[in-house]
């Protein structure tokens, strides 16, 4: 890729994106929920907890969507300047 190429005027970078890691990792940690007790309405913990993880997934994804939503049409100037500031810091 050409070095001379200008960086994107917009960016998907946002600290909120880190929140997406939570619902990706937690449902895979079987040792956390592979138990029978406590039961909820007759459901073993294994089952109702995994249903609860759906709520976790929806919650995290919704927050990230709301916090990174672009105003319709055109470039999001404030977001892009904020992200370029973040990039400078990382360098």
């Amino acid at each position: 890729m050409a070095d001379a190429e200008p960086g994107p005027r917009r960016s998907d970078r946002s600290p909120w994106n880190w929140l997406l890691i939570l619902p990706v990792v937690v449902p895979l940690l079987t040792f956390l929920f592979n138990k029978d007790k406590p039961r909820l309405a007759g459901f073993p913990f294994f089952y109702w907890m995994q249903f609860a993880f759906i709520v976790l997934g929806v919650g995290c994804t919704t927050i990230v969507y709301l916090m990174t939503r672009r105003p319709s049409g055109g470039a999001d100037v404030s977001a892009s300047s904020a992200s370029s500031a973040a990039e400078t810091k990382e360098d």
Partner: protein, 541 residues
């Protein structure tokens, strides 16, 4: 045929005819000036908003086969079959940031298939061809399996013979040919509403009839305690926990690599539609979890699966039989129609996706470089017919078990396109030769491991499942791992090593005609006129 079955069948046929009519009318829905382009026929004009996309992608990902096979798995193995729930939780946050990039770059460049993107990103028609063929091979058995869903309900209603299935698929083929992606998009509304109603009723009504949830889980545990198999039960055990997590993650990584998932994503009108859907689609996961529990209800209800085409008890029949057992006949008819119609939506989208891959990445690339958009649409329509005929023949002429085995393989092989498609969306670091080498290595390793897995339950020596026992390579443990994840790891290692090597040897790499800004473009941003980037980059031939 009993009176009960007649009621069921009448309801089934009436609902089936209603959605078939909708399929044909769909060509006029949000009517385009012409249907003769892949953007219109194959992607519904790239104009679907949040609601349509939610129903379309929901109907696309959560297929009739899923609704029949997941409870069948839970019926047979217990907790291990519940992996479908973490799988469909993990997938959306996992692909959230990648899919919006795919949408943007496809919007700018007019990509219709994942292989179109790979072609432009890595400048390699060979790599694009591999991605296209992988997609077609992985999708074909999936389409065939949708027929298994219809067949299971027809069998439960006492309908014999192949003709009903052939007629159903002929109607599906006709309206997909005419209306393209608009047909499944419109039908998905009816399909999903039916499924939601049936499952919500089932989940309250059946436990009430069977004596409550405690009793249902108790009956399931009692059944698993009696079997000699070490890996079943209402909880996971020491040996299959790792496999459970790997299967969930591997399946999640694979889901949006399937061409039909990409079709649903590219048909949406902007990035916010995709983001909103990543947050809203887990509603279907909730439904899927409830459906999975139907497997335990079938155990508590004393359901015995009937013999399938090969004479062995067919687990896929437990859900239809359970409905028949507990519901009044008219509602059983509605439930069967929900499963039957549920098969039509994904079958239509999958055949469109496979047809688009053939048209764009094989026909246009290798046979007709200057094919017009109208010609592309015609080729795709015909290809969608061929795909469906192939699926019907596969189910009628071959043992359905063959399609099930192929679908299992499908998940493993589609994962091998991850470095090119998913990682390609994030980085251009890989060399095209490295990606090809990785694909070859991952495929070979995956096939070898699948070949080595026997299934004692069906007395098969090979291709008996996707859980690879580590003892096979001499590790002293009973643990199993998911083949797809291991094959992908090998793929990645080879791709990285080969890339480093090819760079060191200064082997020519393809030219990337996409730019960083293309990946964040949104609705209303200018599109690239085909060919101009190649001219700018000095690639015009």
């Amino acid at each position: 045929m009993s009176g009960r079955h007649t009621t069921e069948l009448v309801i089934f046929i009436v609902l089936f005819l209603i959605v078939s009519a909708m399929g044909f009318v769909a060509a006029r829905w949000r009517r385009p000036t012409t249907m003769q382009s892949l953007d219109e026929w194959g992607l519904g004009g790239r104009s679907f908003g949040s609601w349509i996309t939610w129903f379309l992608v929901g109907g696309d990902l959560y297929t009739a086969y899923t609704f029949v096979a997941v409870p069948a798995l839970v019926f047979g193995a217990g907790a291990a079959g519940f992996y479908a729930v973490p799988y469909t939780i993990v997938v959306y946050p996992l692909v959230f940031l990648v899919l919006i990039r795919l949408w943007s770059v496809s919007h700018v460049h007019g990509f219709v298939t994942p292989a179109d993107f790979v072609r432009a990103r890595f400048g390699s028609s060979t790599l694009a061809l591999l991605v296209a063929i992988t997609g077609i091979v992985a999708t074909m058995p999936y389409i065939a399996l949708q027929l298994v869903g219809i067949q299971a309900t027809l069998e439960a209603m006492g309908v014999k013979g192949h003709w009903p299935l052939i007629i159903a698929f002929a109607i599906l083929a006709a309206y997909t040919y005419q209306s393209g992606l608009r047909a499944p998009a419109l039908i998905a509304f009816v399909k999903d509403l039916l499924i939601y109603v049936v499952i919500l009723v089932a989940i309250f009504y059946i436990p009430h009839k069977l004596g409550g949830w405690s009793h249902i889980f108790g009956a399931a545990q009692a059944k698993f305690d009696k079997t000699p198999a070490p890996t079943d039960g209402t909880l996971l055990n020491h040996n299959n926990q790792l496999n459970y997590a790997m299967l969930a993650l591997g399946s999640a990584l694979a889901l949006f690599l399937y061409p039909h998932s990409v079709t649903g994503v590219l048909a949406s009108k902007n990035r916010n539609v995709i983001k909103r859907n990543m947050a809203a689609l887990p509603a279907y996961s909730f439904l899927l979890g409830l459906i999975a529990l139907l497997g335990f209800m079938a155990i508590a209800g004393g359901i015995k699966p009937v013999a399938g085409g090969n004479g062995k008890p067919d687990g896929n029949t437990v859900v239809p039989l359970l409905f028949d057992h507990v519901f009044p006949s008219w509602f059983t008819g509605v439930a069967y129609a929900a499963i039957g119609i549920g098969a039509l939506v994904p079958a239509a989208i999958m055949s469109i996706a496979a047809a688009n891959l053939f048209t764009r990445n094989i026909y246009k690339e290798y046979f007709r470089r200057d094919a017009t958009p109208s010609e592309e649409a015609t080729v795709s329509k015909l290809a969608s017919l061929v795909v469906k005929i192939g699926a019907v023949l596969a189910i009628l002429l071959l043992d359905p078990q063959f399609s099930i085995d192929l679908q299992l393989i499908g998940g493993v092989i589609i994962l091998q396109t991850l470095p090119s498609v998913a990682l390609g969306l994030v980085t251009r670091w890989f060399h095209r030769g490295g990606l090809i080498a990785g694909w070859v290595a991952g495929m070979a390793a995956g096939m070898w491991m699948l070949y080595r897995i026997p299934n004692p339950a069906t007395k098969k020596l090979h291709f008996g499942g996707s859980a690879y026992p580590l003892s096979d390579i001499g590790i002293d443990t009973k643990m199993t791992v998911y083949v797809g994840a291991i094959a992908l790891a090998i793929n990645l290692i080879v791709a990285v090593l080969a890339t480093v090597l090819l760079r060191a040897l200064r082997t020519a790499d393809g030219v990337d005609i996409t730019r960083a800004d293309d990946y964040v473009a949104d609705e209303g941003d200018p599109k690239v006129v085909q060919g101009t980037r190649e001219v700018e980059e000095g690639l015009a031939t």
